[in-house]
């Protein structure tokens, strides 16, 4: 683990039909961190992740990952560089079995020639990912029968077995029970300990308090505050945003 920034975002701007979803954002994430990204609805958190992974095209600014510029790269190339993500609404391949879903994810670096061969057995990496998320028992089932929570787990298994350097989790615990949240948090912590940098978008402050090392607060497409959970909670601006004090059009608290 080094101290060099793994992800360095400078002056990022994403505009949808004149609306600045991300407005001149600067963000630095170091290798091995578990960084939480919080902020009210519409703060641009998901848009930021979309921009990093190539789903939306920024209007300006730069996103450097391990020294490489990500802006303008195609989605699958960004994944190839080592950036993995999950989605708010989990999408799994319903016609494939749980095992095949993970195996497809794990095989993405195989040269095309090897893809033309059949899968023989289960690789260690796939088995481990399935065990990590507790889906090993269901591996032969078509993914279409899984519940919402199980699909979230399956998505996590799929991205885990790809061994990304940077893992972006978009609201991974939405709709989960307390126990499941606990497990997800522990999993994220363990992944980070094994060398993957994790960025988690989350609303649930309780969850954030328990598992975050550093928290970044976004508001209206820009960075509002950054620091440890305690520091951020002390921050007056953050409290304003979360407690909904009267604000002007730009979102700054109106001084009474």
């Amino acid at each position: 683990m080094t101290d060099a920034p793994l992800l360095e975002i400078r002056g990022l701007e994403v505009i949808f039909d004149g609306f600045h979803a991300v407005d001149g954002l600067d963000l630095t994430v170091r290798e091995g961190e578990v960084r939480f990204l919080i902020g009210p609805n519409g703060a641009g958190k998901t848009t930021l992740v979309d921009a990093i992974t190539g789903l939306v095209r920024p209007a300006g600014g730069s996103i450097r990952f391990a020294g490489e510029e990500l802006v303008g790269q195609r989605e699958h190339r960004i994944v190839g560089l080592g950036v993995g993500r999950t989605f708010q609404t989990p999408t799994v391949f319903e016609q494939l079995s749980v095992l095949e879903n993970v195996d497809v994810a794990a095989s993405f670096r195989l040269p095309f020639r090897s893809l033309l061969r059949r899968r023989r057995g289960v690789t260690d990496r796939v088995r481990r990912a399935l065990e990590d998320v507790g889906l090993a028992e269901l591996q032969e089932e078509p993914a279409g029968v899984l519940s919402h929570g199980q699909r979230q787990w399956l998505e996590v298994a799929m991205v885990l077995c790809q061994r990304p350097r940077l893992l972006l989790l978009d609201e991974p615990v939405a709709g989960m029970t307390g126990e499941e949240r606990q497990r997800t948090g522990e999993l994220a912590t363990r992944i980070a300990a094994e060398g993957t940098t994790v960025v988690v978008i989350e609303h649930d402050m309780d969850f954030v308090r328990r598992f975050a090392t550093r928290v970044t607060v976004m508001h209206e497409g820009a960075l509002l505050a950054e620091g440890t959970v305690a520091e951020v909670q002390q921050d007056a601006m953050v409290r304003d945003v979360y407690l909904g004090r009267p604000r002007d059009a730009r979102g700054a608290a109106v001084v009474a």
Binding site: V79, S107, L135, E137
Partner: protein, 378 residues
């Protein structure tokens, strides 16, 4: 006996597949030539050509979700490659094909020249459609054109191809196409007895194409292809380029259609625009829909059965067969949306587990495991 039935019924058992494959191969290669008249055999050979196209459609559409409504284009490229070679072989060295003489063409067009050689023309019948599909597919899929837009585009290409063929009378034989073939590699095509040689070639071609397609489907690539069909965007975020995945299946399907077109020409004795326009192209997809697009063997079987039924009906009811044929189509689509494969699956479920069609012991175990996992979150 029941064990054999069980083995035959198990879809994923390798031995089961081998037995079924060998039974069908034996029936095609040994039984059919023994019991069918030369006329029927050559009819079946034509249907097997269609079955080769159908295997390709099963791959591209059934597995890859690309509704290929213009396979006539590739069928035609293969057919015309073969037809050009046969016309030149017949005309003899330095001579022009008959229709060019009638159209007043004086020297052999440059496009035709290399097709004088079998070593060029025969590989071209497969490689040319593949090359066209690879270029086209890359351009189209890269722009994320899919669904109905892709279907209409592919259909438009078949239509455009027909317009070009009809317009270039001197180069392509126009509406009449290429016909009046009498020989291939010195084989007299007018002799009925030679029908079985051509039939055997087509049957072997179909078996080979089927094995290639099946390997593609069963491989990891096949799983990714299904994943692309289900959610192309998700596959992109797993690090695959969906364009590449789709182009491979589309190109393979085009090669198969080209091969079928090339074999069709010596058997039927003609290749013309009427055989590869919009309507024939749609018909090709209908065979596969009726057979069952998700299962390759049924896609191929659908092509043979539909054409067999069509011929049977048209012979028995010369005036009303088209209505009957339409009714068969409506009934299958209404009651068996998965095509005949769906009916096969249902029967198989009954065969494999007598008296337990609803929920077999294995399915029950799985259901329990599912409940358990749902209760104690993993």
């Amino acid at each position: 006996m029941s064990r054999l039935a069980g083995t035959l019924a198990a879809g994923d058992a390798r031995w089961g597949f081998l037995i079924r494959f060998l039974v069908v191969a034996a029936a095609m290669l040994l039984l059919a030539p023994a019991v069918l008249s030369d006329f029927r055999l050559s009819l079946l050979a034509k249907f097997l050509c269609f079955a080769i196209v159908a295997v390709g459609i099963g791959l591209a559409w059934g597995q890859g979700g690309m509704l290929v409504l213009g396979q006539g284009l590739f069928f035609g490229l293969g057919g015309y490659s073969m037809g050009m070679y046969m016309k030149l072989e017949e005309a003899g060295p330095g001579q022009l094909p008959d229709f060019m003489v009638w159209s007043g063409v004086e020297s052999l067009p440059a496009v035709w020249a290399p097709f004088r050689h079998a070593w060029f023309a025969l590989p071209m019948a497969v490689l040319l459609p593949m090359a066209v599909a690879a270029v086209l597919g890359t351009l189209v899929f890269r722009q994320r054109v899919r669904g109905a837009y892709f279907a209409i585009l592919s259909q438009g290409l078949a239509a455009a191809f027909v317009i070009v063929l009809v317009g270039q009378q001197g180069l392509t034989g126009g509406t009449n196409g290429l016909t009046n073939f009498t020989q291939l590699f010195g084989l007299d095509l007018t002799a009925q007895a030679n029908a079985s040689i051509l039939y055997t070639m087509v049957a072997l071609g179909l078996l080979a194409v089927f094995l290639i397609a099946r390997q593609l489907v069963a491989s990891r690539y096949g799983r990714v292809l299904v994943a692309v069909r289900d959610s192309e965007d998700r596959v992109r975020f797993l690090g695959y380029d969906p364009t590449r995945i789709k182009v491979v299946a589309y190109t393979a399907a085009a090669g198969m259609a080209g091969l079928a077109g090339a074999m069709f020409v010596p058997i039927v004795g003609i290749i013309s625009p009427a055989l590869l326009g919009i309507l024939p192209s749609i018909e090709m997809v209908i065979w596969v829909a009726l057979g069952g697009r998700a299962v390759l063997a049924w896609a191929a079987g659908g092509a043979v059965l539909v054409n067999w039924v069509k011929t049977g009906l048209s012979e028995r009811f010369p005036s009303g067969w088209l209505y009957l044929f339409g009714m068969v189509f409506v009934v299958v689509i209404a009651f068996a949306p998965k095509g005949m494969a769906g009916i096969g699956e249902y029967v198989r479920a009954g065969l494999g587990r007598p008296g337990a069609v609803r929920l077999g012991p294995r399915a029950r175990d799985r259901a329990t495991a599912r409940d358990r996992a749902a209760q104690e979150p993993a």
